[in-house]
Amino acid sequence: MHDLENHYEKMSKISGVFNREDFAYLMVHGNEIVKSHDLEGLSIKCNSVKDGVNLEFSLLENCKINNPVVICFGVLPEEGIQRINMKGILNKGSFVEFMAYCIFPNGKKVKHYMEGEINIKENASFKYNEIHYHGENGGVKIYPNMNVSIGKNGSFRSNFKLPEGRSGKINLNYYIKAGENSRVELTTKVMGSGNDDINIRENLYLEGDFSKGTIASYIVGKGNSEIKVYNRIEARGRKSIGHIDCIETIMDNAHAMAIPIVDVQNASAKVTHEAAIGGINKKQLEVLMSKGLSEDEATKVILKGLLK
């Protein structure tokens, strides 16, 4: 078993997926394709290139994949670069969920680039979960860029998480175009500590009539971390509805900023936003301490919940 698979099993608490016939999967270490498996209706083509891979996947019309597609990207040495160029098409009426694990547990000088381009056709649905672990060194820099277009009645749900360890540097840029009556949910949950530098930019363009979307960011900053969250929703479609939610909890000397941009270009559309930045919720802390937890234990429960 490749050591990356060991790390994946430890992180996901799931074993044996990469040998199962009923799962589609892909494991890439650096630019080495360790394992790959597709399923009827879902094609996964992956080619090794310098410093990374070119990945193309496509899902046939009306094909619904029951088990999540498990993807594992990683760099195990202390230094390295990984570039992922991903192109995906979900044809009409199809559905798939990806569980993408990005694992850089020893990184002192590791860079990970992701350029994604996803086309979700009419009535198709795509759930994309990306879970990161960057170890404790703070030397990992990641640049996830994603362009997603969603056709009529389509849906896209993204969950980006880094719940434990150091973040290092995160520069996340998502651009999502939502077509008529489509649905979008973007959720980011990230923990920063040490001198981590986190920049989240999620841009949602509600172009289609009756399109709906939310952007939610839950960020915890500790130590001297710097966090900036720029979330933008542009509502152009008739009766399109959007909401931006940003909750940032800071401790120690962390610094957090939330900059929501709400741009409404149609009188029948509506976009709202809420942002809350501050220390640990004192009432929550007291409630947990009244159950016998120490302040540190109570803080852990609250932060774990925020980033779950």
């Binding site: 839950y218 909750i247 919720n281 004192k282 009432k283 929550q284 007291e286 409630v287 947990l288 301490m289 009244s290 159950k291 016998g292 937890l293 120490s294 302040e295 429960v301 609250i302 774990k304 919940g305 925020l306 980033l307 779950k308």
Partner: protein, 238 residues
Amino acid sequence: MEEKSILKLENISISKDGKKILENISLKIQENEIFSILGHNGAGKSSLVYAIMGIDGYHVDSGKIYYMGDDITNMPINERAKRGIALTWQEPVRFEGVSVREYLSASSPKSSEEEFRNYMESFGLDYVSYIDRLIDDSLSGGERKRIELASVFISKPSLALLDEPDSGIDYHGIKEIQNNLANLLPKKSSIILVTHQEEIAYMGSRGAIICQGRLDDIGDIDYITSKFKNKCSRCQNA
């Protein structure tokens, strides 16, 4: 009588933002007793139980709190909890991402799933439907109240402080809880029940009226509820 008291408040006074909110309160709560504290809104009932629990902002200016004979006046909140004091909050807090199981585990880390089931069901919560639910705004205030009650009782406290346990729960739910309450606590445990409703106060055998931050009267529950129903002697509020 002295040996059996679980809690003794000795002339406690509390100020908040420069204003006295409790003045010279003295009380003794016996072992294996449900003691009701009646009072109108803003009388200082909740402040009294917060002071007993040791909540920040409700530390006593003067006076002493004795629990099982020990002076706990300056003891931190979590130490009081470890000694067996537990509080149900009037308005249970939401916890983003924290499940009912995790919340109950925080109260009672050693409890089994079977115990979670029993205590949840004692408070009208179906185990299968609720155990993995998050304690966030997807739950109503009444549901969170039941979870709060379960979390307190599962810790098997020696002294349970119930701050308006009826708020947010319908009449049938209250009756159900009333019927179960006595069976849920270990022997010799006591309850301080804060309420402004006489029928809830009747769960206790003794009680007190708090008015304008002072102890107005203390006595058996018939006497106290009857007095509260008519006129409080301090403020003359009916």
